[in-house]
């Protein structure tokens, strides 16, 4: 895997030098902030109304939970935001190398295919982690106002990292298939949407059950609720590996097809 470090640093330098990083980050944080704010406002209102009920029935207080009213819906809506924004981070990665001809430099340097792929993937993941790290500010602000379930919060973030990681792996594959960034971005978005929606079914047997088991959404639902299930972990890690592996095969075949 020679060259991961070199690739990673180069990709980060390009991210920081181009507007896509700043634009994606801006919209991610703006939308995230907006939904955090509306969730908190609603929680605030409900708490005020509930104060009277609680005076009569103290057991009702347990229904008022910051995690379920603020962070769980926030994490759920963030998944949808990522569906739109993650393809923007990956569409350039390999397509642009091919279009501009720099692939010829890249693949004649003594770098392994895994070095190139993981370097690029980790760079995108790190950029995403920076965005996600900034959203921790929401939790810190909220912790000053109400009691927070830090364990459930951590579970939500683990979910977001895995979900984003899966989106990025699929995006990297579509970027390896074309020279056109737009095509790579649209293909990634379409496929992600497909993997998200195949779980939206009433039935749970036969083919429908299989599709549900493959759905990105289905395996994500537990994390915002504060539940980290091994089944979901395995699903996401396999998803990521599978798409990185397909990208590797795609790069290998390039030398022969040309």
């Amino acid at each position: 895997m020679t060259g991961i470090g070199a690739m990673l640093r180069k990709e980060l330098a390009i991210y920081f030098a181009t507007p896509i990083f700043y634009l994606t980050g801006f919209f991610f944080l703006m939308l995230g902030g907006f939904f955090f704010y509306t969730n908190v406002a609603r929680y605030n209102l409900v708490s005020l109304q509930a104060a009277q009920i609680i005076a009569q029935n103290p057991a009702a207080a347990s229904q008022l939970n910051a995690q379920t009213m603020v962070f769980q819906p926030l994490f759920e809506v963030m998944a949808i935001i990522l569906l739109f924004l993650m393809p923007l981070l990956t569409m350039r990665l390999l397509a642009e190398e091919k279009r501009s001809g720099t692939a010829e430099l890249l693949f004649t340097y003594p770098l392994t295919d895994w070095g190139v792929i993981l370097g690029k993937y980790l760079a995108a993941l790190l950029i995403y982690a920076i965005f996600l790290g900034l959203t921790l500010a929401y939790a810190l602000v909220f912790a000053g106002l109400a009691k927070l379930d830090w364990g459930a919060l951590a579970s939500g973030y683990v979910g977001l990292i895995l979900l984003g990681g899966a989106f990025l792996a699929l995006g990297l594959l579509t970027s390896s298939l074309t020279q056109n960034q737009i095509v790579a971005g649209v293909a990634a978005f379409g496929l992600l949407l497909l993997f998200w929606l195949i779980g939206w079914q009433q039935e749970s047997s036969g083919v429908a059950g299989l599709l549900t088991a493959l759905s990105l959404a289905e395996h994500y639902n537990n994390f915002p609720r504060g539940v980290v299930d091994t089944k979901d972990l395995v699903y996401y890690l396999s998803f990521i590996f599978f798409f990185l592996f397909l990208t590797k095969r795609q790069l290998e075949s390039r030398r022969w097809r040309a």
Partner: protein
């Protein structure tokens, strides 16, 4: 065995198809360590394809290419460690600065941490890039881009340099600079460069491989190729006199194979090899009382060789 060790490039029966189009067909050649070899051919002859295979970017459809004893396909990584490659059209990352780009190239080539800065400084100095080091690659002129392309190829001091059209698109003074640079590499590196500019190849390279339509049509030093071409030599004459008579008289001299009359009393006389006919021709003109304005022997140039070989192929 020793002879094999000294070979930097060994190409055997190399062929490449793009789909159903045959780009190169059964190429065979060798390049010894320390040689500068020019790869010459018209556009679309298969030069770039061959260099891409040598650089490990493409896999051949048939045949083998070995660099430093390693196979370009099965030992691709080892091959890529021994070479510096300047692709045609010099692809670079426009969003990086010159320094960032060279840092990436050095790290990708595995130049170790401490040597990294030294290597980058040396390559920048060799290629005259020091003054543009903080600039974005996107803002560089064509000449500087070309130099940056060369600089990245030089990083890590690879024993073999593969340069695809290193002077294309440059202005004349830049061409001279880049050629000078390549000449300076010559001592330490084996260089294989492609070009369709003949004087460039004859100036830079000791040996020339001429390729046309995917096949090697000649491989030798420029002088030998020129010598082989004519089985004779040429003499250029300028004579004031009646055109037809002069031509006929010249043709009648023993040893003259052909006379081509040109405008303004110029004649190009092709003669048998190994005989200098200049005294006879001069005497003839003077005896007939015509005026001899010019008389000189003409060498066959690489250009003649090239045109001859390429046209012969086409006929």
């Amino acid at each position: 065995m020793e002879a094999i060790m000294e070979m930097m490039i060994e190409v055997q029966d190399l062929s490449k198809y793009y789909g159903t189009t045959l780009a190169i067909s059964g190429l065979n050649f060798q390049v010894a360590a320390g040689e500068i070899v020019g790869f010459l051919g018209p556009n679309g002859a298969g030069k770039t394809t061959t260099l891409k295979i040598l650089a490990g970017f493409l896999a051949p459809s048939a045949g083998t290419a070995r660099i430093g004893g390693y196979d370009c396909v099965s030992d691709s990584l080892k091959v890529r460690r021994t070479l510096g490659y300047l692709p045609e059209n010099v692809p670079l990352y426009p969003d990086l600065t010159v320094t960032q780009f060279l840092q990436f190239a050095a790290r990708a080539k595995g130049v170790a941490g401490r040597q990294e800065q030294q290597e980058i400084d040396r390559a920048m100095e060799d290629c005259g890039l020091t003054e543009v080091r903080p600039k974005l690659v996107a803002s560089l002129s064509k000449g500087y881009r070309q130099r940056l392309g060369l600089a990245q190829a030089l990083l890590g001091r690879p024993p073999l340099l593969i340069l695809d059209e290193p002077t294309i698109g440059l202005d004349p003074s830049q061409i001279v600079e880049i050629r000078q640079l390549i000449k300076e590499f010559a001592g330490d590196h084996t260089v294989i460069l492609s070009s369709h500019i003949l004087p460039e190849v004859s100036q830079l390279c000791r040996r020339v491989i001429i390729i046309n339509r995917g096949r090697i049509v000649a491989s030798d030093t420029a002088e030998n190729l020129a010598r082989q071409l004519g089985n004779g030599s040429r003499i250029a004459l300028t004579v004031q006199g009646p055109k037809k008579e002069v031509a006929a008289a010249l043709k009648a001299v023993p040893g003259v194979k052909e006379v081509a009359g040109q405008e303004n009393g110029r004649y190009l006389v092709e003669t048998v090899r190994d005989r200098d006919l200049r005294p006879e021709l001069a005497r003839l003109v003077v005896e007939r009382h015509w005026r001899l304005l010019e008389l000189k022997a003409q060498e066959f140039t690489l250009e003649d060789v090239f045109l001859n070989l390429v046209t012969e192929e086409e006929v």
